[in-house]
């Protein structure tokens, strides 16, 4: 335990990993490496990056359950905020670069197009989580903070639906270009299952037996 206090290498590593996708995006933009359709590429990359950080956030507790490495628990907020950061950039790209903030075009999409609606829905689930991520709220909200932040689970599933619906294919019949969202959906489901209290307790006891 003293080791993790001595030098915050995990913290630094997470911040490096957090900024790397944006740095790569800027580098690829400046070297003209964002395909022939850069706006779409920017949109897709930011969305994917947001998903990766969301999955990483959801993986924190299972990672602790499996390894007993408590240092990861204190990094969950940073991961969650990076997910929110990239989700913000993703949605800004959609509104601004893709649709030029022409809300007469955007609003019918949000209302009428399920995949856009799902994306907006997921974003509006993440928004209050980011807004209440400060210590101030954690202390003030007590039990309600945990209740509110439970929203991350349905948000993860809505994000998968948003992802699958944006591609040509059908997630539910497993036809077409849906392999990636399907796999990510399974990953999120597995992470959620690993959190079920009985399973978690069982894993902890098994782990303690092994490490002892």
């Amino acid at each position: 335990m003293r080791k993790s206090r001595s030098f915050p290498w995990l913290k630094i590593a997470i911040h490096i990993v957090g900024w790397l996708p944006l740095a790569k995006l800027i580098f690829d933009f400046s070297t003209n490496n964002l395909t022939i359709n850069p706006i779409q590429e920017i949109e897709i990359r930011l969305g994917r990056t947001a998903l990766y950080f969301l999955v990483a956030t959801l993986a924190v507790t299972p990672a602790y359950t499996l390894t007993g490495w408590s240092a990861v628990l204190s990094r969950r907020r940073a991961l969650g905020l990076y997910a929110f950061f990239y989700a913000c950039l993703h949605i800004l790209t959609f509104l601004g670069l893709d649709y030029g903030f022409v809300f007469s075009q955007i609003i019918p999409l949000v209302v009428g197009k399920p995949y856009i609606f799902a994306g907006i829905l997921a974003f509006s689930m993440l928004l209050p989580l980011a807004a209440t991520s400060f210590d101030y709220f954690i202390k003030r909200m007590h039990r309600n903070w945990k209740r509110l932040h439970w929203l991350i689970y349905p948000a993860g599933l809505v994000v998968i639906i948003h992802y699958a619906w944006s591609l040509k294919g059908d997630l539910f019949t497993l036809r077409g270009n849906v392999l990636q969202p399907f796999i990510w959906g399974l990953v999120i489901l597995a992470l959620l299952i690993l959190r079920l209290p009985p399973l978690r307790r069982w894993i902890s006891t098994v782990r303690q037996k092994i490490t002892r």
Binding site: I36, N37, I39, R175
Partner: protein, 337 residues
């Protein structure tokens, strides 16, 4: 040289080197505008006389919308050297056309297709034409080059709401169909892509009904604008764009324009099509470009022209309203999406 260009669309003596093509574009840009203007003046510009507005097609038919059709400007057969389509849209560059390809047989990543397809073998190639025809025949590419090769600049509108303007070389499918003579019972044309997992790794993918297949109604297939492309930009067709034979139906969403065709079959019943098979509520048999009928999950009202920053309004039948609207007279384009 002769050997290398075997499947080029025009005799090699007539091919403009790509560099010369590019340099003379600037001159022809001016010349093209002048001659097009003169031509329009001579025709008296019959702007809104398209079938949708002029031939008694009621605008109340669902899915047609109420906007006026695009002005009818003829689509030339010899577009080589022109820098715009008949509506004045600039061509996309060869680099754009060859590095942004929806070709799931190679990859679902559009920018990965060019490198994955570079060793694709297009010679020898056999196209089998059969089904309900009097003269079934298997063609080699050389046999198909005897059909008059035309240069057509077409807009390509992808169902994913992006678009390009592409200078194709190819022959009218009607020329081929007339030679094999469809029987009177033939009502549809079915197309099938090469099935070869060793060359096309995507065809090993389990979530798709490979091989890719597509279909047209016979009258659509016989339409002047329907071509089998054998080249683009005066070069032989790049592998990533569907070499050696690729259907181009410019008023339909891009996925109808099937690539690497090995078989054409005339049928009495409407053939199955690849995307319809995957999701029938989203990809219909017709799949005509239509800004008024959305994809269930996204809008088709606008599109991004590759290379442009802002979105464009999508045109009815991709701007080919005057040429093709009569094929669908009286049809409900919402149910026949």
């Amino acid at each position: 040289m002769e050997h290398k260009l075997r499947h080029v669309a025009v005799p090699s003596s007539e091919i403009t080197p790509y560099s010369a093509y590019l340099t003379r574009r600037d001159f022809l840009k001016v010349a093209g505008i002048v001659s097009a203007t003169a031509f329009l003046a001579a025709c008296g510009v019959k702007s809104t006389s398209g079938p949708a507005s002029g031939n008694g097609v009621p605008t109340a038919v669902p899915g047609w919308g109420a906007e006026t059709p695009t002005p009818s400007v003829p689509i030339p057969d010899n577009a080589q050297g022109l820098t715009t389509d008949e509506l004045g849209n600039s061509l996309n560059t060869l680099d754009q056309i060859t590095h942004y390809n929806n070709y799931y047989e190679f990859s679902t990543a559009k920018d990965a297709v060019a490198s994955l397809s570079k060793d694709f073998k297009t010679t020898p190639w056999a196209l089998e034409v059969g089904g309900l025809v009097q003269n079934p025949k298997t063609y080699a590419i050389e046999d198909l080059l005897k059909f008059q090769q035309k240069e057509r600049i077409y807009r390509l509108r992808c169902v994913e709401a992006w678009s390009m303007v592409i200078p194709w070389t190819g022959f009218e499918l009607a020329d081929l169909l007339r030679e094999v003579q469809p029987m009177t019972s033939a009502k549809y044309v079915r197309f099938i892509t090469l099935m070869d997992k060793t060359q096309m790794p995507g065809e090993g993918g389990p979530l798709y009904p490979w091989p890719y297949n597509e279909g047209l109604r016979l009258d659509e297939a016989m339409h002047r604008l329907t071509i089998i492309a054998t080249g683009l930009y005066g070069q032989s067709l790049p592998n990533q764009d569907g070499a050696p034979l690729r259907l181009v139906v410019p008023w339909k969403y891009g996925f109808k324009s099937i690539k690497a065709i090995v078989k054409i079959e005339l049928t009495e019943t409407q053939p199955e099509t690849f995307w319809n098979n995957i999701s029938s509520t989203e990809y219909g048999f017709y799949s005509n470009v239509n800004p008024n009928v959305d994809h269930p999950r996204w809008s088709q009202a606008t599109e991004r022209r590759i290379g442009e920053l802002s979105r464009r309004q999508t045109l009815m039948f991709n701007g080919y309203n005057d040429e093709v609207a009569s094929l669908y007279t009286g049809m409900d384009l919402r149910t026949n999406y």
